[in-house]
C-alpha cells in the first residue's frame, strides 16, 4: 500500500520534471469530438515535428474551358496527379473538388485585365521576365510554399512566442512571431511576406503582408506546354501585386494531419478574396529529416533551358 502511494507520488514528481515537459500529456478528444492537440511547455498547441505534403492529386482550380489534347513536354516536372491537364468535367465524372473552396465555382476570381495577364504569363514561359519564379529558384512565396510539391517537406519548431516553419524547398523558412507586434514598414517588401501569428483556440492564425509582386500564389509544377491558361487546373501563373494580404489558418485535424486554409486578398488583381483549403500537412515517419535543397547552385542550365536566354558563361554563375 505504502509502495503504491510512493510510486504514485514518484510518478507525479517525475511528470513535473523538466525532462518530461516536452512529452506533453496524450491528447484527449474535446467536447464535440474535436481533436485537442497536446501542449508545448509554454502552452501552445503542439504542432512540432516533421511533416510531408498532403493533398497531392487535388486540382487547385476548376478549368474554364476543356483543354485540347495535351502536348508532350514541359520541364520534366511532374504534372499534378489527377487533374493537371484539363481537369473537371471530362469523362463524365462530374466536377471534382478543388483546393479553391471559395468562390464555389473553384476558379481564381481574376479581374478581366488580370485574366489576360495570366494568359500572357502562361504563353511566354520561354521568356525570362515571365518564367515561373520556381524555375529561377526564387522563393516560393505564400501560400505556394505550402502546396503539395514533390520536392517539399516541412519541419515545425515552436519556442515561446514563435512558430517556425522550415521548408526543404529552397531552404525556405518562416519565423512567425506571436507577440502581436505590428507589420514592418510598407517600404519593406519580402519574398515570403511578413507573418504575424496568434492562436485562436487550437488554430494558428497567420496574417501576412509586405509581399513583393514577384511570386506566384499557386502552382505545383510547370504549365503543360500548349495548354491555354483557361484550361489549367494546376494554379500556374496566378500572379499578384504588392497589395496581397494572406490570412492562413493551421488546425490539427488529428495527431497526424494539419488542416490548412488560406484567404487571399488582392484588390488590384482579384474581384474578391478567395479561399483555398485542404489537409496540407501529413505527419512524416519518425526518422524523417529535411535535406539540403540547393536549387540555384549547380543548376546553371535551368534559366537557359527554360527561357533561351543565357547567363554569361565566363562568369560560371551556375556552379561546379
Amino acid at each position: 500500500m505504502g509502495t503504491v502511494a510512493g510510486l504514485v507520488a514518484a510518478i507525479v514528481l517525475l511528470s513535473l520534471a523538466p525532462g518530461f515537459a516536452g512529452q506533453a500529456p496524450a491528447a484527449r478528444p474535446g467536447a464535440a469530438g474535436v481533436y485537442v492537440p497536446p501542449r508545448t511547455p509554454d502552452g501552445q498547441p503542439d504542432m512540432q515535428g516533421m511533416w510531408l505534403p498532403g493533398g497531392e492529386g487535388l486540382p487547385m482550380e476548376r478549368a474554364s474551358i476543356v483543354a485540347p489534347a495535351p502536348a508532350a513536354g514541359g520541364d520534366g516536372a511532374p504534372a499534378p496527379a489527377g487533374g493537371g491537364r484539363g481537369g473537371g468535367g471530362r469523362g463524365g465524372a462530374g466536377p471534382r473538388p478543388t483546393m479553391i473552396v471559395d468562390p464555389p465555382d473553384g476558379k481564381v476570381p481574376f479581374q478581366p485585365w488580370a485574366l489576360a495577364r495570366r494568359a500572357e504569363i502562361i504563353d511566354n514561359q520561354d521568356k525570362f521576365e515571365f518564367v515561373d519564379p520556381r524555375v529561377r529558384c526564387l522563393p516560393a512565396g505564400v501560400p505556394r510554399v505550402n502546396l503539395p510539391i514533390v520536392f517539399n517537406t516541412y519541419q515545425i519548431l515552436q519556442t515561446p512566442g514563435h512558430v517556425v516553419f522550415l521548408y526543404e524547398w529552397s531552404h525556405l523558412y518562416r519565423d512567425i512571431p506571436l507577440d502581436g507586434r505590428p507589420h514592418v514598414d510598407p517600404k519593406i517588401r519580402l519574398w515570403m511576406g511578413d507573418p504575424r501569428g496568434h492562436w485562436e483556440g487550437n488554430t494558428l492564425v497567420v496574417d501576412s503582408t509586405n509581399f513583393t509582386d514577384k511570386t506566384h500564389l499557386l502552382g505545383n509544377g510547370a504549365p503543360p506546354v500548349g495548354v491555354p491558361a483557361g484550361a489549367l487546373t494546376g494554379g500556374q501563373g496566378v500572379f499578384h501585386s504588392e497589395a496581397l494580404h494572406v490570412v492562413e489558418r493551421f488546425t490539427m485535424a488529428n495527431a497526424n494531419t494539419i488542416a490548412y486554409e488560406a484567404t487571399l486578398e488582392d484588390p488590384k488583381v482579384f474581384t474578391r478574396p478567395f479561399k483555398i483549403a485542404w489537409n496540407a500537412f501529413q505527419r512524416a515517419p519518425k526518422d524523417h529529416q529535411l535535406y539540403e535543397y540547393a536549387c540555384f547552385e549547380g543548376d546553371h542550365d535551368t534559366v537557359r533551358r527554360m527561357t533561351g536566354v543565357d547567363i554569361d558563361p565566363s562568369l560560371n554563375v551556375g556552379g561546379r
Binding site: 505504502g2 510512493g6 514518484a10 525556405l172
Partner: protein
C-alpha cells in the same frame, strides 16, 4: 511506517530528478553564464545574433582596401597553416576574388563562413534541434541535438550538423561539406575533406563566444581555430528580413541571346 516508506520513496524519486542536473555540475560550475535558461536547463540562445568583425573580408590580418575595412586576424596563431601548394592556390584565389568567390555567384556560403557574413541570423532552440535562420539567402541550418548520428555520406554545401551540449557550450560537429565554398572574400579555402567543430559558449545573456576548429588534411598542415564573438541584436522589434541574392545575380548576368 507506511508514511515513512512513502517519504523514502519520494526522496529517492526526487533524487532521480536531480541526477541529470548534478551530472552537469562540473561544467556548469566552470561556466560564467548567468543568463536565461530554457526549461531543460540549457543556456537560452533564442534570439537574433550577428558577428561584428572583418572575418567576412579576410580571416587573416589585412590592410584596408576599397570597400574593405582593415582588420586583425581572427585565426589563432594569426596565419592559416596552409600546405605549400594550397598557399599558392590561396594567392591565385585572391587575385581573381571579385569573380571567383562563390558568394559573388550567390552560392550557399558553407560553414563556418555563414556565421560571419555581415547579416543577422536567428537561433531557434528546442531540446532536440537548434535551428539557425540566416537572413542571407534564406540559408537554414538544423543542428540535431537529439543524439542522432550523421547520415550516410552526402555532398552538401552547408554540411550536416550534429550537436551536443558540453555544460553550457553547444558543440557542433559539421561533416559532408563540399569543396565549392570559400572561407572569406580573400580566397581562403578548403577541400571536401573539411571537418568543422563549432563551439558556441554563451559568456553572458547577450554574447556568445564562437570558436570553429577546421581540419582538412588535403589543405592545411594541422587543425586550426578561428575565434569570434556573436552579439545579440537588441533593437526593438528587430526581425530577420530577406536578402534573395539569386534574383539579384540572375538579373545582373542574364543577357539576351
Amino acid at each position: 511506517m507506511r508514511n515513512g516508506v512513502s517519504a523514502a520513496i519520494i526522496v529517492i524519486a526526487a533524487s532521480w530528478l536531480v541526477i541529470p542536473i548534478a551530472a552537469q555540475a562540473p561544467a556548469t560550475a566552470a561556466s560564467a553564464y548567468r543568463g536565461a535558461r530554457t526549461p531543460d536547463g540549457k543556456p537560452n540562445l533564442n534570439g537574433i545574433w550577428q558577428t561584428f568583425s572583418t572575418a567576412h573580408w579576410n580571416l587573416e590580418a589585412h590592410t584596408a582596401d576599397d570597400g574593405v575595412p582593415a582588420g586583425q586576424s581572427v585565426v589563432e596563431g594569426n596565419d592559416i597553416p596552409y600546405q605549400p601548394a594550397a598557399l599558392a592556390q590561396r594567392r591565385a584565389n585572391f587575385e581573381k576574388r571579385t569573380t571567383a568567390d562563390p558568394l559573388t555567384k550567390c552560392h550557399l556560403p558553407g560553414v563556418p563562413r555563414v556565421t560571419y557574413i555581415p547579416f543577422p541570423f536567428q537561433i531557434v532552440q528546442t531540446p532536440k534541434y537548434v535551428s539557425m535562420l540566416y537572413e542571407y539567402s534564406n540559408v537554414t541550418r538544423i543542428i540535431y541535438t537529439d543524439g542522432s548520428p550523421h547520415p550516410p555520406p552526402l555532398d552538401l554545401w552547408m554540411g550536416d550538423s550534429r550537436g551536443r551540449w558540453e555544460g553550457d557550450t553547444l558543440v557542433v560537429d559539421v561533416t559532408q561539406l563540399n569543396e565549392l565554398t570559400w572561407l572569406d572574400m580573400a580566397g581562403n579555402f578548403h577541400s571536401d575533406a573539411l571537418h568543422v567543430t563549432e563551439r558556441y559558449t554563451p559568456v553572458d545573456a547577450d554574447h556568445i563566444r564562437y570558436e570553429a576548429t577546421l581540419e582538412d588534411p588535403k589543405v592545411f598542415t594541422r587543425p586550426w581555430k578561428l575565434n569570434l564573438l556573436l552579439y545579440r541584436r537588441l533593437e526593438q522589434n528587430l526581425q530577420i528580413l530577406d536578402y534573395v541574392c539569386v534574383d539579384f545575380i540572375q538579373r545582373k548576368y542574364v543577357t539576351s541571346k
